[in-house]
Assembly symmetry: C2
Homo-oligomer: 341 residues x 2
Amino acid sequence: MAELTLEDIAKKVGVSRSTVSRVINGSLNVNSEIRRRVMDVIHETGYHPNAAARSLASQRSGVIGLMLPRSVSSFFTDPFFPQLTQGVAYGCNKNDLTLSLYLVGNKEDEEKIYPRISRRGLLDGILIQAGQPDDRLIDYLDHSRVPNVILGRPFVLNGANYIDVDNIEAAANATRHLIKLGYERIATITGTQNSAVTLDRLEGYTLAMKQAGREIDDSLIVEGDFTEGGGYEAMQRLLPARPDAVFSASDIMAVGAMRAVQDAGLEIPGDIAFVGFDDIPMASSAVIKLTTIRQPILQFGIKAVELLLDIITNGKQPARRVMLETELVIRESCGCHKVNI
Amino acid sequence: MAELTLEDIAKKVGVSRSTVSRVINGSLNVNSEIRRRVMDVIHETGYHPNAAARSLASQRSGVIGLMLPRSVSSFFTDPFFPQLTQGVAYGCNKNDLTLSLYLVGNKEDEEKIYPRISRRGLLDGILIQAGQPDDRLIDYLDHSRVPNVILGRPFVLNGANYIDVDNIEAAANATRHLIKLGYERIATITGTQNSAVTLDRLEGYTLAMKQAGREIDDSLIVEGDFTEGGGYEAMQRLLPARPDAVFSASDIMAVGAMRAVQDAGLEIPGDIAFVGFDDIPMASSAVIKLTTIRQPILQFGIKAVELLLDIITNGKQPARRVMLETELVIRESCGCHKVNI
DNA sequence: TAAAGACGTGGGAGCGCTCTCACGCTTTAT
DNA sequence: ATAAAGCGTGAGAGCGCTCCCACGTCTTTA
């Protein structure tokens, strides 16, 4: 059997192409008896409209893209991205959208992916993970007129639509918690130097420290790279500065850092307390349960899809900024019992 | 400016639509001077062909799908799937394909996703992760004529094209390693009961044991569920049986199980040795470095894409089965030094 | 009672490509 | 010298939908 078309269905029912199209697209003005008969034939025959034809005629594909730039090499080492992807996928399912995933591996991929994104007719819009400041992609997208939403605050704003969690406030909150618990030498392990997330979380730390009248001691600020190994090494560099508490800019780095602390023969939270960021599943299942900032990662993905949909329908003006709230989840690693008990 | 079309480019250069199309599609029979001029105009104008129109006319979309069924709920707890996704993404990049990701969250999603997949014109083919035996999807796909490749051995074969690692041999290999090291009470933590991977890895374990003349002791076989928590609980159930070595059907379960062992005040590998399966990044970065079976996960994804491409081009007959080799990676958790030093 | 509106339906045009065929020209074989 | 084959090009048809307009029928309003 050849592939069925709208016209075939119409012929079988004895109506016109247009009527069948109306039934499929849920138009109101169709006689209910005819609607029923059309539906029946569609189910019997297992007919599905051709997506390409539909996209071409309607100028809408029902597909959105999710792009994770090259700088996000940690796709499979940090559970953050899989979870984000899942959130976006759910958002797509909810809104009857199909998700295209663009994982950029290397420079070569990058060259190939750009044109694929700008090709009209394939994507109705795209979600892009914010990356390094030198990321050419966001510029590139401003020129092409593909509706887009940046996941996370981009470095240069100029009119960009983005969604982000309030990293500054969240980090400040985490730091304040450690301050309140009476720790004297509170350190922080930051993320990769030149990313907005890193900057914001560091700013939150600094803010809370200053507000509490504490000096900022540079030896208590070390750079990680959002990987477990990076956290381990950062902690090794940090140990000589004798911190009694650490705010880590991501859970996965905190896990690495805690391992370094244990390897050094110290206790958590007895000798060094920890607060992380993300609340990945491992945070609650690790040997020492991690106190951390919970990001609504699934919600983040879902909201991002909805924001993009809004832009697709109503245009990118005015620029939209969505901020999501976070929450401090208290477990064992911060040593709360010190004061509570 | 309105969107450019082929015809616009043709007019600017002073040739016909057909010639521009030939240039874009790399046809040989084009005068090189004209080709150059066409290329120039394309670059100047930033023209990109419309994907929908192209798909409609050529009956090829250049998009393939990756479907992870509902039973794969562990998308973001087990790094296996993100890594697999990455492999598939690289395979797509290499072959100038776009990847659509279908993550099924719940029953409702499932209903919505089926028709999206069968819609012609959107997908050239699809990769499906093998799941439970009652998975309706694979049946469903056999009826629709979407070219497909199953990732992992499906329960019912009938003509299915699939790619898998040799789980039986790999598991046997892992078990033989423990046997060779002189362990007496070798246990295994299996995956979710009714999945082909679980069955195969268990069969490998049984095979190696029998070949070595060992009795199969049912109290040394416990079921996990491919999560860290599941591994922890499985190990707790296993401890009373006093194993001195464990082959875990996945690394992430091994990590959980090792935690249970430590929580029980026992040493690894001194009291209980471990071999895992997968070689996820955590295996080499955990506190106790895990001896494990390395699956070529990235390769797996890339090969899967190539296999699918072959099927798209040359038809699904004859059925193809691709088997990938694995490798035993020896680290600390198996206690190799016991015999070597 | 006639004009105006609402409703349900059909048909044509068109979305922007690819693909086949036909045409004229040049090169090669007979 | 002539036929055959090859090359580069253009034009037409068609991929399977959506969208708009026109048309007939029935209902509402002045």
